[in-house]
Amino acid sequence: MTRYKQVNNVRSPVTAEEEAQLEKDKETFLAIEQAKADAKVAQDALKASTKAKLIAGEALTEAEADTIVI
């Protein structure tokens, strides 16, 4: 399906080069969103283990300590 762009008020089909860039942008966006989601899952898990260890009086790893030291 042909995609279009609009420059000021003129609508025209995107070029092959622009279409390739749009696909590249989409891949970039999805990769960034996945990386953000993965980082949040990892951080949440780290905070959960930190909390559990603090309650149990166990030693923290450096990464876990980093979650509570500002």
């Binding site: 995609r3 762009k5 420059v7 000021n8 609508r11 860039q21 749009l22 942008d25 970039t28 999805l30």
Partner: protein, 199 residues
């Protein structure tokens, strides 16, 4: 206003009052009414102005997405990986009066992000994303072109989101305009109005 001069304003003949001059000048209005991949506002930067405001209103994506921007050079979007920005977003999810804030930055990407954190809602009734981009000295080829923006939009799940962004293109160059688009999604509608502030 009083007297015969203002009374004659708008008449085609006789003693006619001239239009009020203004240092804040509307240069272009672009309306998107059918689906497009991107919209560019280009060719309106001149030596008459150093400072521009671009307002975008009710820009609705085909599916929930963040709003991105590129500078243009010679009428085309610059796709080099020299974009740097910093963004702050705050979000009200409606479950409490507390806001969630998120900070992001881009360094060496191929775009600026005007909205980050959650995506902008694609439901037209939410009004899409609305906001403003300020552009400074776009024709000055001796400096890195800069921008700052603020925008509002409902999140993908209906949250209230506000985004602040600013940044520059890491190369001294003049720019001829801007290109705005939703990350990974088409734009279904929106209105863009460019103003210049006279020197």
């Amino acid at each position: 206003m009083s007297g015969i001069i203002s009374d004659n304003q708008g008449r085609s003949s006789g003693l006619v009052k001239s239009a009020a001059s203004s240092d804040y000048v509307k240069l272009n209005t672009t309306t998107v009414s059918s689906t497009i991949a991107s919209v560019s506002i280009d060719g309106y930067f001149t030596s008459d102005y150093d400072y521009y405001n671009l307002y975008f209103t009710n820009c609705v994506p085909a599916s929930a997405a963040q709003y991105w921007m590129r500078f243009n050079s010679g009428g085309s979007a610059i796709t080099g990986g020299n974009y740097r920005d910093s963004n702050f977003s705050n979000t009200n999810s409606g479950s409490s009066y507390q806001l969630d804030g998120e900070k992001y930055g881009h360094w060496g990407t191929t775009y600026f992000a005007l909205s980050v954190a959650g995506n902008n809602n694609a439901t037209a009734a939410y009004g899409g994303v609305c906001g403003e981009v300020q552009i400074f000295q776009p024709l000055n080829a001796a400096v890195y072109p800069q921008f700052r923006s603020s925008c509002y939009g409902a999140g993908g799940s209906g949250t209230a989101q506000q985004h602040f962004s600013g940044g520059y293109y890491d190369a001294a160059t003049a720019i001829s305009g801007v290109t705005l688009y939703f990350a990974s999604q088409d734009t279904e509608s929106g209105t863009f109005t460019l103003f210049g502030v006279k020197k």
